[in-house]
């Protein structure tokens, strides 16, 4: 394993953290959109209270991954910027609208109708943004961003649209939305104060967990034509079988724990499940950063840069990790709320 591999792993770990934390914030927005039943307003309140203190910090994981990517793998960043210009621009619009609408809604003063419009913008953007982010990830996995940044050649749409507007990439987008909604529902069971509210989120978690199986199946089916390389890895690599066993175990544990109202276990298992799926993807396209032709080694910055970044990460971690721990200790109870 080279230094570049280590850093690629760290970038991926940051994305993993973003999926588990920032992803759940998107998922919360999805449940805001789908809020219903007699406790509709309570659900929305609770979701907003859970997101409020942490969403900005959770969001920085994405920035960190991005910054590390352009520092340590500049050609990969440049290629992504060119070929995924359209979906990433849309993601940005989503991020801008979601973050500002949330704040306008919560901090705008009077709780009137005008304020509720912001709540709706927040919820819709929370649904669309991960869909597009997932689609971008799907485009990478499908190996459509190859040939030295030329895409699949040809005209505008062949180059800038075709790589990501595929059934496979879109199915990854759907998968991301469902996974984030699942995480959010599971986390929210621990946030809810009243038992009825907790039940609301528990039912949603069970539904989303089941839907996640469906979404995973869809991705798998479409990967045959859509992402052969990743599919190969996921089936034939030596690590594939143990990974699948662990993922399946985590998934089943999550659902069973949710069913039996063991919420803390459910949270651990759900987070593990989503992480394992992500690492499965990462491992299956190793050593490529952007399959089929850009490897980690080829994209890596010179060793001085990598070493310095690693030092920076170590130093930053010393500041970051205790701070994060404190943030979550203050706002996220380990025990279910009494």
């Amino acid at each position: 394993m080279t230094l570049a591999d280590v850093i690629a792993g760290i970038v991926f770990a940051a994305l993993n953290a973003y999926a588990l934390l920032g992803g759940a914030d998107y998922g919360g927005g999805v449940w805001d959109l789908l809020a219903g039943g007699p406790r509709k307003e309570r659900q929305r309140e609770r979701i907003a209270e859970a997101i409020g203190p942490v969403w900005e910090a959770n969001h920085v994981w994405l920035i960190l991954a991005l910054v590390l990517l352009f520092t340590c793998f500049p050609p990969a960043f440049a290629r992504l910027g060119i070929l995924l210009h359209i979906p990433l621009s849309l993601v940005l619009i989503g991020i801008v609208l979601r973050g500002s609408a949330f704040t306008f809604w919560r901090y705008g003063g009077q709780a009137d109708d005008e304020q509720r419009h912001w709540g709706v913008v927040f919820a819709v953007a929370s649904l669309v943004t991960p869909l597009l982010l997932g689609t971008a990830a799907g485009a990478i996995a499908s190996g459509a961003l190859g040939e030295e940044g030329k895409g699949s050649g040809g005209g505008f749409s062949a180059r800038y649209v075709a790589p990501w507007l595929t059934p496979f990439a879109l199915s990854v987008g759907v998968f991301a939305v469902v996974a984030f909604a699942f995480l959010a529902a599971v986390y929210l069971t621990l946030e809810a104060e009243e038992p009825e509210l907790r039940e609301d989120f528990r039912r949603r978690g069970l539904g989303a967990g089941a839907a996640l199986f469906g979404a995973a199946l869809l991705v798998l089916l479409l990967s045959r034509g859509g992402a052969p390389r990743v599919r190969e890895g996921l089936i034939f690599a030596p690590w594939a079988a143990p990974l699948h066993v662990c993922t399946a175990a985590a998934a089943l544990t999550a659902l069973a724990a949710l069913w039996r109202r063991r919420y803390r276990v459910a949270r651990m298992a759900a987070a593990l499940q989503v992480s394992l799926i992500l690492w499965g993807w990462g491992l299956s396209q190793y050593p490529y950063l952007l399959p089929p032709d850009l490897t980690i080694a080829a994209a890596a910055a010179p060793a001085v840069t990598l070493r310095l970044v690693l030092g920076t990460l170590a130093l930053g971690g010393v500041v970051l990790l205790p701070s994060l721990y404190y943030l979550f200790r203050v706002f996220k109870s380990i025990e279910p709320r009494a």
Binding site: V60, F70, S89, A301, V304, V330
Partner: protein, 446 residues
């Protein structure tokens, strides 16, 4: 609209939008912390109210700053992949450091905003102080990256390939010190005067209002000293520019011909075709004195670079004049307020001073925007001075006018909304306790 122009415009709009929120994010936490500390020391609830109201406004501005900053990070790749391919490995370092500064900032902001009553008062104050420190640091790091674009160091180009990369040397580039000092001071001066101006406006109506009197004092403590230092720091920057980017200096000063004992041109309209500046007021030896501290020094004019490497002289010259003019105004008002405070005179009852401060509300922000126009437009046509042309850095993606228009509209919409929400909060917030008309002399607050 040509694609290059659209990309430049989109970058310019995004940065000009973001900088407003970034500046507030750097300076506002300082004021909140001072107010909260005074509350803890004096026990007077008026300061607590102040800290909380400022925090509410800051929460809105901060969120918009965070999302618009995210847009910028992506745009570096979406619009300038050529730049990032070239520069990523060299100046990624400050961006990575900035990433950690953002993290601490966002974490402790969350703790600060939502932690009232949940954590001990001292811990709350420390959280606020950490937000202030990491806000200033994130500004410093990103400006170092920008300074490197003006004075690139830490690499060599051999046969079109970048070799000998030294990220630490890039970090320590010669423009870094002057730019970071100037920018950090600018953040405090602009925000301090904006806040002071708003409260001065209310004090004009009722100089006895205890709430606005306290707010004014804190805002001026942050804004006035920094505004006084700003011309000194600007002179430091200008001398640096004179040495490293002579074409930019020539454009700032609208100096077409190289000459010794160069005069300083105030105002005027540079005519790029005729290569002369009309209607300006000239101060003999002024420019040589300012740029090199020597009345006879030779100052390079635009004739030293070929015509196709000129920046837009009129825009750069005009922006520079605007910044310096506003900077002079702010420094004078700061001096005046400082003099009165030293004489222990009651600032809030001095109507002329209050008018002058109220007038200054937008000025720091306009100066910040103008200053960045000087820096960025003055660097053209280079994205990395003398190394990489902007035209070679832009994405090959066609149709860039579309994202430019979309983001511009989005930002206009957000800008109006933020202004409306803040207005609603500052002016009409019905939940505000009525400090109005409640007069409390200073001694009582002890």
């Amino acid at each position: 609209m040509p694609d290059l122009l659209a990309a430049r415009s989109q970058m310019g709009v995004s940065l000009a939008f973001h900088i407003v929120f970034a500046v507030v994010g750097i300076a506002m936490p300082v004021m909140m912390v001072v107010a909260e500390r005074r509350w803890q020391v004096t026990g007077h609830a008026i300061y607590l109210d102040l800290a909380k109201r400022w925090a509410k406004g800051t929460a809105i501005l901060f969120a918009v700053g965070a999302v618009s900053g995210t847009v910028l990070s992506f745009e570096l790749g979406l619009l300038w992949p050529g730049f990032m391919r070239f520069a990523g490995a060299i100046i990624g370092m400050p961006f990575s450091l900035e990433g950690f500064a953002f993290f601490t900032e966002a974490i402790f902001l969350g703790i600060y905003l939502y932690g009232w009553g949940r954590i001990p008062p001292q811990a709350h104050l420390v959280a606020g102080a950490l937000v202030a420190v990491s806000g200033a640091l994130s500004g410093v790091f990103v400006v170092i990256a920008n300074a490197w674009m003006n004075a690139p160091t830490g690499f060599h180009v051999v046969n079109g390939r970048v070799v000998d990369i030294d990220p630490l040397a890039a970090l320590a580039n010669p423009a870094a010190l002057s730019q970071t000092i100037h920018m950090t001071l600018a953040a405090y001066a602009a925000t301090g005067f904006a806040v002071a101006g708003i409260h001065a406006f209310f004090l004009l109506k009722n100089p006895a209002n205890a709430f606005h009197r306290r707010a004014l004092a804190i805002a001026l403590i942050v804004g006035a000293p920094t505004a006084l230092l700003q011309p000194l720091s600007g002179d430091f920057s200008a001398r640096h520019v004179a040495r490293h980017q002579p074409a930019k200096l020539a454009a700032m000063e609208a100096l077409f011909a190289t000459r010794a004992a160069a005069p300083l041109t105030l105002g005027g309209w540079p005519d790029m075709e005729a290569r002369e500046t009309r209607f300006g007021v000239r101060i003999p030896y002024g420019l040589s004195l300012l740029a090199f501290h020597d009345p006879g020094a030779v100052v390079e004019g635009l004739d030293m670079v070929s015509r196709d490497e000129w920046p837009n002289v009129a825009a750069v010259h005009l922006s520079f004049q605007v910044m310096v003019g506003l900077g002079a105004y702010l420094a004078l008002v700061a001096l005046w307020a400082g003099w009165l405070a030293w004489r222990r005179s009651d600032l809030a009852h001095n109507r002329w001073l209050m008018r002058a401060v109220a007038l200054a509300t937008p000025m720091g922000f306009i100066a910040v925007e103008a200053g960045w126009m000087v820096t960025e437009l003055g660097r053209q046509p280079w994205v990395i001075q003398g190394v990489l042309k902007t035209a070679d850095a832009v994405t090959p993606m066609p149709g860039l006018v579309v994202p430019f228009l979309v983001f511009t509209l989005l930002y206009c919409f957000l800008g109006v909304t933020v202004a409306w929400l803040l207005y609603r909060q500052i002016v009409r917030s019905p939940a505000a306790p009525e400090w109005r008309g409640f007069y409390m002399p200073d001694e009582q607050a002890r």
